[in-house]
């Protein structure tokens, strides 16, 4: 797979095609599998994403610890806010839904990771439903997201333990922003700007889950990550460019991750996990998990 978005964008521009098509061709060559087989696998991932959204919005799920659950349902039928009736609210609801399913040990697609699994389905399915975009274009969008994620994996990291939350929901926001931009008709260069705009907004984000559980703040980080992705799509589609290329923003994320103290890398030693309330809740809930 491509090692830089710069190369991928140049390739797509030279061939006059999409990043999705370039990604599928390279994947086919790398893995020795026909493009149709890869599309079918992405189609299965899409079905799991849809199922997780549907399961999550019912509001019936609770995590083992009971720390999270039921909030996606509040966005579905709770009181109206300033975004009521907009795709924005729908995307927030879907992001919470998938992540609540994940916290309850339900089946999700780790894209790129389980902790950041809500962002991509929320943004892509939310926008596709609003615009009436078909599954073939959604599968293309997943290929583009996979390409962006592969670049992040090679240049930086996709692990909260290595790079903090910027490597999980941050990378997911970059992937979702780029993929959605292409799905809505943006050029390969616009995809690069959307990715950079989303990823810059999450630089430095720490991974600080209470008790080490992928629950709090993870569920809400997926919703805010999706919001950042939507903001990046809106800006990129309007023709706004970001002066630092996406590859360099991604490299920066990797550098910051390597410098990040271990307390902020999934160890529950710092950040919200180390607040008085965070410590108290974690202690109470871990005792509860051991009892169940």
């Amino acid at each position: 797979m491509y090692h830089s978005l710069h190369d991928a964008i140049a390739d797509a521009e030279r061939k006059g095609t999409t990043l999705a098509r370039c990604a599928l061709e390279i994947e086919s060559r790398d893995q020795g599998r026909p493009v149709e087989e890869i599309r079918a696998a992405l189609g299965r991932a899409l079905a799991v994403m849809r199922h997780a959204v549907a399961q999550g919005v019912t509001g019936d799920l609770r995590s083992n610890s009971g720390l999270v659950g039921g909030d996606a349902a509040k966005l579905r039928s709770g009181p109206a806010g300033p975004l009521a009736g907009t795709v924005f609210r729908d995307v927030l609801m879907k992001a919470l839904a998938v992540q609540e399913v994940n916290a309850a040990m339900g089946v999700i697609v780790a894209a790129p990771t389980a902790g950041g699994a809500g962002v991509l389905p929320a943004v892509l399915l939310g926008l596709a439903e609003q615009r009436g975009i078909d599954d073939e274009h959604l599968i293309d969008a997943l290929a583009t997201a996979g390409l962006i994620g592969a670049v992040v994996a090679q240049r930086a990291s996709l692990s909260g333990a290595e790079g903090g939350c910027q490597a999980e929901t941050g990378a997911a926001a970059g992937m979702a922003a780029g993929a959605a931009t292409e799905m809505l008709g943006g050029t390969p260069a616009m995809v690069g700007h959307a990715t950079a705009l989303a990823q810059q907004g999450t630089l430095g984000l720490v991974c600080d889950p209470l008790g080490g559980l992928v629950e709090l703040p993870c569920v809400f980080r997926n919703a805010t990550g999706a919001a950042i992705a939507l903001a990046a799509v809106e800006m990129a589609m309007a023709g706004i460019t970001f002066a630092i290329p996406a590859d360099e923003v991604i490299d920066t994320m990797g550098d910051i991750g390597r410098e990040m103290d271990v307390r902020y890398r999934e160890t529950a030693g710092g950040g919200l996990a180390a607040t008085p309330t965070g410590r108290r809740l974690a202690k109470e809930r871990l005792v509860q998990i051991k009892r169940t």
Binding site: S65, M105, A110, T113, A153, A167, V214, V262, I289
Partner: protein, 224 residues
């Protein structure tokens, strides 16, 4: 090689791709080293695995892998209950296996025993469900579970690789990568052969039939 299907995937039981899905895959590889559910397993967790593993279900996931459950198997949720009925005697310990960056923060050492087979492996979960086994029985290796893999220990004799390649070729199995390591010249050689097709049991039998092969196992693909 990073695949877009590793990034948009795996389909898995939550809550953590590194601490649940990756951990499960490491358990599956340890299971293959003894060709079935081990009788005993010592699971030593390092770094983030040790500090936050319980909340992420890392314990359930590794034990589930040892039982042969894959990362999308909903039985993982209940693996610690199931394991008691399967007769696997397992034990977790928290340990320090070295310093970063030489040792990845999500590293585990798994020692397994079944009948006459006894092995120890060191592996890490790299994020997004990707894994890397870096040591088997003290030999440095690199197994990522993205291919079917044959691991073997053989006497370090001339022509051994040609013979092995011949057996694989006759069975229609194509070699993707081959790595050889040894602790010292003339000592036993450790071979890791990644292949494109899953080798039949007869291939393992043919390899074991070579007088200078001490042992060989097939590790099934767990990802990609």
């Amino acid at each position: 090689m990073v695949s877009i299907l590793d990034i948009i995937g795996p389909v898995m039981v939550g809550p953590s791709s590194s601490h649940t899905a990756g951990a499960c895959r490491l358990g599956l590889i340890a299971r293959d080293l003894v060709a079935g559910t081990p009788e005993t397993a010592l699971i030593e967790l390092h770094g983030s695995f040790a500090r936050t593993g319980e909340g992420h279900g890392t314990d359930k996931a590794i034990v589930g892998g040892l039982l042969g459950f894959r990362p999308d198997d909903e039985r993982l949720r209940d693996a610690l209950g199931i394991v008691e009925r399967e007769g696997l005697d397992w034990r977790f310990e928290k340990t320090t296996l070295g310093e970063e960056p030489e040792v990845h923060p999500n590293t585990v050492r798994i020692s397994v025993k079944r009948q006459h087979r006894q092995h120890v492996m060191l592996g890490a979960s790299l994020g997004a469900g990707r894994i890397r086994v870096s040591q088997i029985d003290g030999y440095p290796v690199e197994v990522d579970g993205s291919h079917h893999t044959i691991v073997m220990v053989a006497e370090d004799i001339k022509g051994s690789i040609a013979r092995i390649a011949g057996i694989l070729s006759d069975a229609g199995v194509n070699i993707a990568t081959l790595r050889l390591s040894r602790k010292h010249r003339g000592g036993d050689a450790f071979m890791v052969i990644e292949v494109d097709e899953r080798p039949e049991d007869a291939v393992g039998a043919a390899l074991k039939g070579l007088p200078w092969v001490r042992w060989t196992h097939r590790i099934d693909k767990v990802g990609g």
